[in-house]
Assembly symmetry: C2
Homo-oligomer: 391 residues x 2
């Protein structure tokens, strides 16, 4: 019957944080942001889209569950891809009138707060753009789904330009450098348990934008300077500089959340213990060897060069013991390392109680969305999900 396209897309973790919108509907940010795109072989969203004349309605299955297609952000993405295709004349009008079936899955728990919507919307929009043969930059379409999704449209190190046009036409992502430019860059994601209900990013950004005095200074002075500086650090592969800016910007993002009214917090005491541990380790090394960054949740993403990974992982295992060590680490393989008892003794943080860090994912900077060409679609020939669906 119709056509099916399948794509995988990466998550990205910002080092200069996006926080605050100048347009809620178009998802236009107040400031530029910078991120690294992470390897899809470890964490990714996978999306199949089908279009067929027989489909009676647009349908989406998300992580094994049928969801409403009436979601405005989803609608905006689909409409925009079709409009772009129509403008480019890439497919015929009849094809554009067919309904679509979408099936999308993340290969990591969405509940872990790991930027799943960025990967998901980048994947959806890339798949739709491929289906409709859109040739122009799709980052501004992915942005309509979830702001940070526009950065997942490219691999390597990516900058999302805030832009200034009210239409959002210049609010797009561009690549600063590909993943091969700095092949030693690695990330350890520390998933921290969180019992409290959290403030959604959308709501939190709105409160900060409306009430934080300090946000104004961040937007006007701090972010422009840091964006320039971290771009230079990436191009020069200057890890200590990259790391310092990354940590300072994470801290400042959480500071403006606290300066909001009412204030809100994403960092837990475990997050703060991780921060203290990293500063202590860097101080012992007399060089900034590791950077932490925290999104709107308690999980840490640690950036470091490949040579540091075995030592850092050993320290994390020691300070944050797990009662299930075999399931503690996933992703790329890590070699064993000895860490001198001297370093462990000097650390400002003592061994914590078990399971404060639930698990760790080891990954690296990787490519942008890629086509799945081996035929392993998530939709069958009738446009129905191949995997089990929970009703």
């Amino acid at each position: 019957m119709g056509y099916t396209v399948t794509v995988v897309a990466p998550v990205n973790i910002a080092v200069i944080k996006y926080w605050g919108k100048r347009d809620e509907e178009l998802i236009l940010p107040l400031n530029d942001s910078v991120s690294a795109t992470l390897d899809t072989s470890v964490m990714c969203a996978k999306t199949s889209v089908s279009a067929a004349p027989e489909f009676t309605e647009d349908v989406i299955w998300l992580n094994g569950k049928k969801e409403s297609f009436s979601n405005k952000r989803l609608q905006n993405c689909l409409r925009e891809v079709k409009e772009r295709a129509a403008a480019e004349g890439s497919v015929d009008k009849n094809f554009l009138s067919w309904k679509v079936h979408v099936c999308s899955e993340n290969n990591f728990p969405t509940a872990a707060g790991l930027a799943s919507s960025a990967a998901g919307y980048a994947c959806l929009v890339t798949a739709l753009a491929k289906l409709y043969k859109v040739k122009t930059d799709v980052s501004s379409i992915a942005r309509l789904g979830s702001g940070s999704a526009c950065r997942s449209v490219y691999g390597g190190f990516v900058r999302w330009h805030a832009g200034s046009d009210p239409s959002g036409v210049d609010s797009i992502a561009t690549q600063i450098a590909s993943s091969t430019h700095w092949p030693e860059m690695r990330a350890l994601i520390l998933v921290v348990g969180d019992s409290k209900k959290k403030m959604s990013s959308t709501k939190g950004m709105k409160i900060t934008t409306e009430t934080s005095e300090l946000l104004k200074h961040r937007i006007k002075h701090c972010v422009p300077e840091r964006t320039t500086e971290i771009t230079k650090a990436i191009l020069a592969r200057d890890f200590p500089k990259f790391a310092e800016i990354t940590m300072k910007d994470s801290n400042q993002f959480h500071a403006v959340c606290l300066d909001s009214y009412p204030p809100f917090v994403y960092l837990t005491e475990v997050s703060h213990t991780i921060i203290e541990l990293i500063h202590s380790y860097n101080e012992i090394c007399r060089e900034t060897k590791v950077a932490y960054t925290f999104d709107a949740g308690p999980n840490a993403c640690l950036y470091m060069l490949e040579s540091e990974v075995p030592k850092i992982f050993k320290i994390i295992k020691t300070i944050f013991p797990s009662s299930n060590p075999t399931k503690f680490i996933s992703g790329l393989p890590i070699n064993d390392a000895d860490v001198s008892t001297d370093i462990l003794g000097k650390l400002a943080v003592r061994t914590q109680e078990h399971d404060l860090i639930k698990y760790v994912i080891y990954t690296k900077v990787g490519e942008g969305p890629t086509d799945v060409l081996d035929g392993s679609h998530l939709l069958n020939e009738l446009g129905e999900p191949i995997n089990e669906i929970v009703e």
Copy 2:
């Protein structure tokens, strides 16, 4: 033999926070601050000073323990009071050459992090000024002991002017309004347990001053505007405005601590639960009835008008149950209150585990330092402590 003078002095809790020095030695602040002075009948420092020709050295006993008088801040205070006395010609030069004995006690645990050094230095300097008959403003001398001590030299609502003179001559405290101006103002101090070692104020201020980008905006824009606004609110007895500025400024102070590099935190998860509780209560009331403020530690000071106290205390007892209810509250008496189960049901915070708040002190805005005229000195006629000393 010599002369003995005894004084009691109050603690004060800032509503516009002092954070950052422009001169470490003279303790000159980067910004103005505003506080309320709390009733000495509930919390105070008490200090006796004696001078006698027979004394061979300056000696100080602090909370039942002999301490070194070589402490620079202590030396600066004593030297400055004597210089002032000499300049004013208030006592004869021979008297100024006698050594002093000082005995000082707080009637509340110093470890609780309740601005004990502010009360202590205000008390010491006021006692010394009385001994040497200094007539001019002594707030700038108390400032040399501990910055915020200069605010404890006056009762009611007090402003510490940052000043601009490098000598510190204009960095003094003045009274905005006496305690009788707004007699309904009350404070509940919630003492929260804290296991972690904390960053000292002195060290924390230094890190923030040297590293926080956001502090610059706070100093230049936020504090001047807030100081003007809260002064108006105090003079107009506008509680909702007073409370809103108080909470925003507390949050901003903690935000700049987080924006420091390395970042540091004073608020614990219990502190954040208290913040959430107060915002939820105010929202239910559809009016800002209670303000929280946190100094460099996890304890909350809640400001409210007298009429709210029974209800708020009942809510605190319910949400933060104590395993020793009879010792949970001290200070002024509180009437029992019924809080409708409707309000309790609507609160965003559920009942917590026991003893997260260790105890509560109920107090009000009060007078500045006062002379103890009933002869209940802390030093006997030989200039030795009357109460037991721990060696």
